[in-house]
């Protein structure tokens, strides 16, 4: 693969008679179902947000193949440093949509204990899906540091840092690439070039001829793949992981894709994305493309997609109902986890807040467990 060519398996080798992807049917179907699950999660979150039950959501429509393709090339003991548009990676490896919905509602079972906005997931089981923060690019050098630890201990794990095209302008991208190149750290940089950084079109984000070419300056090989083709993304990440595990260092992968919606539920893309661009990418929908491939080779029956999507919707709907029925976090969660042990000044602030809430009759269920 080279930087200027856009490598696509679905549009290329997969068209040939008797093409063998080298992946079991079971695995292909798991990838397909995960993409549908991501879309179902998105669709339900949009409804929840529009009906005022959650405050915010980040749509993934159009990006599913990049997320799931990348995750499917990595192992459960690898580390994921995701962006906020990456939760298909967690779903692929078995994170329960109910645990994700707890975060969307910021309830007492949310791993972030209701402290973060929705979509800022954090999981350690069954994979390290590292806690997401809102500042962009900060996680890139962190992935390099985690990868350095793997290398120092002689483990054959890799770290994946995933980010959008806008993040390539951040400090973290440059320092992360620079350090990883020098250290030959076992890390994969996945740039999801999804067309826009909120409203900034990708071609105005950089004067470089591609995002993949940016690797060259850091001595990091760069490849550019069709991000709406699960097989292409999977193959590129698998190759990068193999290089990393063999001690050959980092790879920068640019997955060319498109955000078929707003940046978030607070954003109206019609103000800056031409209708024609949406129409063009609608024809390249990553789920439809993978579906056609699976049907063509007989892995999927024509009647199945609808059933699978309905099943995913039911699963996410049940998750959402369970999360809605879960109590909000107790007042003490404001004051805990700032430090390993609560220091005196925070303890006394917590006691004052709890005393005031009690005096004003505001103490809700769960507040009585205030352990300060």
């Amino acid at each position: 693969m080279t930087i200027t060519d856009l490598s696509s398996i679905l549009d290329g080798p997969a068209q040939a008679e008797g093409f063998d992807p080298g992946i079991s049917d079971e695995e292909l179907l798991h990838c397909y179902r995960t993409m549908q699950l991501v879309r179902a999660f998105d669709d339900i979150c949009l409804k929840l947000q529009r009906s005022g039950r959650i405050g915010f959501s980040i749509p993934n429509k159009g990006i599913e193949a990049t997320q799931v393709g990348a995750a499917s090339a990595l192992r459960k003991d690898d580390w994921f440093f995701p962006s906020y548009r990456d939760f298909g990676m967690a779903m692929y490896h078995g994170v329960d949509p109910t645990d994700m919905m707890h975060n969307m509602f910021g309830n007492s079972l949310d791993t972030a204990r209701g402290r973060q906005m929705p979509v800022h997931f954090s999981f350690t089981d069954p994979i390290h899906f590292v806690s997401i923060s809102s500042p962009l690019g900060t996680h890139v050098p962190q992935a390099v540091g985690a990868a350095y630890a793997m290398k120092l201990r002689g483990e054959d794990k890799v770290a994946l840092a995933s980010f959008g095209d806008g993040s390539t302008s951040t400090l973290g991208f440059h320092s992360g690439m620079s350090f990883a190149g020098v250290w030959k750290a076992p890390v994969i940089f996945l740039c999801q070039n999804n067309g826009y950084a909120i409203s900034m079109p990708s071609h105005e984000q950089t004067a470089s001829s591609s995002y993949a070419i940016k690797g060259k300056a850091y001595g990091v090989p760069g490849v550019r793949v069709d991000g709406n083709d699960l097989l292409s993304v999977r193959a590129a990440v698998a190759e990068a992981a193999e290089r990393a595990r063999a001690g050959e260092g980092p790879t920068l992968i640019e997955a060319v894709t498109f955000r078929m919606g707003g940046h978030s539920t607070s954003d109206d893309p019609s103000a800056y994305v031409p209708d024609s661009e949406f129409a063009e990418w609608r024809d390249k929908d990553p789920i439809d493309r993978f579906e056609r491939f699976l049907i063509q080779r007989g892995t999927l029956d024509v009647a199945e997609p609808e059933l699978i999507y309905a099943d995913c919707l039911a699963q996410v709907d049940a998750a959402s109902k369970a999360a809605q029925a879960t109590a909000p976090p107790a007042l003490e969660t404001i004051f805990s986890d700032v430090y390993a042990e609560i220091p005196d000044h925070i303890r006394s602030q917590g006691q004052a807040a709890f005393e005031l809430a009690g005096r004003l009759g505001e103490a809700a269920a769960g507040d009585g467990a205030f352990p300060l």
Partner: protein, 315 residues
């Protein structure tokens, strides 16, 4: 016991930690072969190898960002920022990431790491080699901020910081690196964080200092408290010291407005005002950038501190 400078004690602490714990790493700009611009890491690379003590590219953001990833994944990074004046590219990593990681993940991910950095004036370093940036970081829940002022404390506090489960900014007063000497025990010992040290017992005025001992020879008995850890602060010790004399002077090198001296003043006002015989007076740097040629006028030196003590004592 050995007689050591403050920087010698820092070096000894790092060697002790590297020897005892294979997960400890020391890195930053010029810390490897050169041993640091002040020689705080002298000899570490030779003894422990370039995997555990190494130079990084010139990027503070990269140094702290990678340190956070290492800390998350089981290592104990001790990162050096060459001068605190250059820490600001890493401000986002410290404030948005290291300090908030435990909180935002409900304790699933943590960043137990130490950021060592020389700070403060007195070396004719001008605007960019002299600043005291503690207030920025003390305003950041999740961080710990530690400043030693003796060789004994430097080693004991640094070893405590390395063992601590939370991110610690370890600010080293560079003017004292070779200006103070003291007895330092061999091997491992710690000085507990968030404790204060009474430098001098006295009855008339309490001086809350973050750095050196000072002399007040005008017949006023001065009680000097070294805070050792600015965050989390041992507030009770400050309040008790204030109650003892009813007269407090706080001394910091940083600019006054929104500075740490003001926080001490507020704590005393909130918790001990009925004991106070005089206003709390701050002796600080001026609300200007740090000057070069005239730095001796900028620094809160003995003549300015004594001036304030006399005002408070005679109020």
């Amino acid at each position: 016991m050995a007689n050591m400078t403050l920087i010698g004690a820092v070096n000894d602490a790092l060697k002790t930690a590297l020897r005892e714990d294979p997960s400890v790493l020391v890195f930053g700009e010029d810390v490897g072969k050169k041993g640091g611009v002040f020689l705080a890491t002298d000899g570490l690379q030779a003894e422990f190898g370039a995997d555990r003590c190494f130079d990084t590219p010139l990027s503070e953001d990269g140094i702290i960002g990678t340190a956070i990833g290492m800390a998350m994944n089981g290592l104990k990074p001790v990162a050096e920022i060459q001068f605190q004046d250059f820490i600001f590219p890493a401000f986002d990593q410290i404030v948005s990431e290291a300090a908030k990681l435990r909180y935002r993940s409900g304790g699933q991910y943590t960043a137990p790491m130490v950021i060592r950095t020389p700070y403060g004036g007195g070396i004719r370093g001008g605007l960019y080699h002299s600043q005291s940036g503690e207030a920025y970081f003390c305003h950041t829940p999740g961080m710990k901020v530690v400043i030693p002022s003796t060789p004994y404390d430097a080693k004991g506090l640094l070893l405590a910081a390395i063992a601590d489960p939370d991110p610690v900014l370890f600010m080293e007063p560079k003017a004292l690196y070779r200006a103070v000497k003291g007895e330092v025990p061999e091997g491992h010992y710690t000085v507990e964080l968030s404790t204060t040290r009474n430098v001098r017992e006295g009855d008339d005025v309490t001086v809350v200092e973050k750095a050196a001992d000072m002399a007040a020879e005008k017949g006023i008995s001065v009680h000097v408290v070294d805070l050792r850890t600015l965050l989390p602060l041992d507030e009770s010790a400050v309040v008790e010291a204030a109650k003892k004399t009813g007269r407090v002077v706080t001394v910091t090198e940083a600019p006054r407005f929104c500075g740490y001296a003001g926080e001490i003043s507020a704590i005393v006002a909130e918790r001990a005002i009925e004991y106070m015989e005089a206003p709390v007076v701050r002796v600080t740097g001026f609300d200007t950038p740090f000057p070069n040629t005239l730095e001796h006028h900028y620094l809160p030196d003995a003549r300015r501190v004594i001036d304030a003590i006399e005002k408070v004592a005679n109020f």
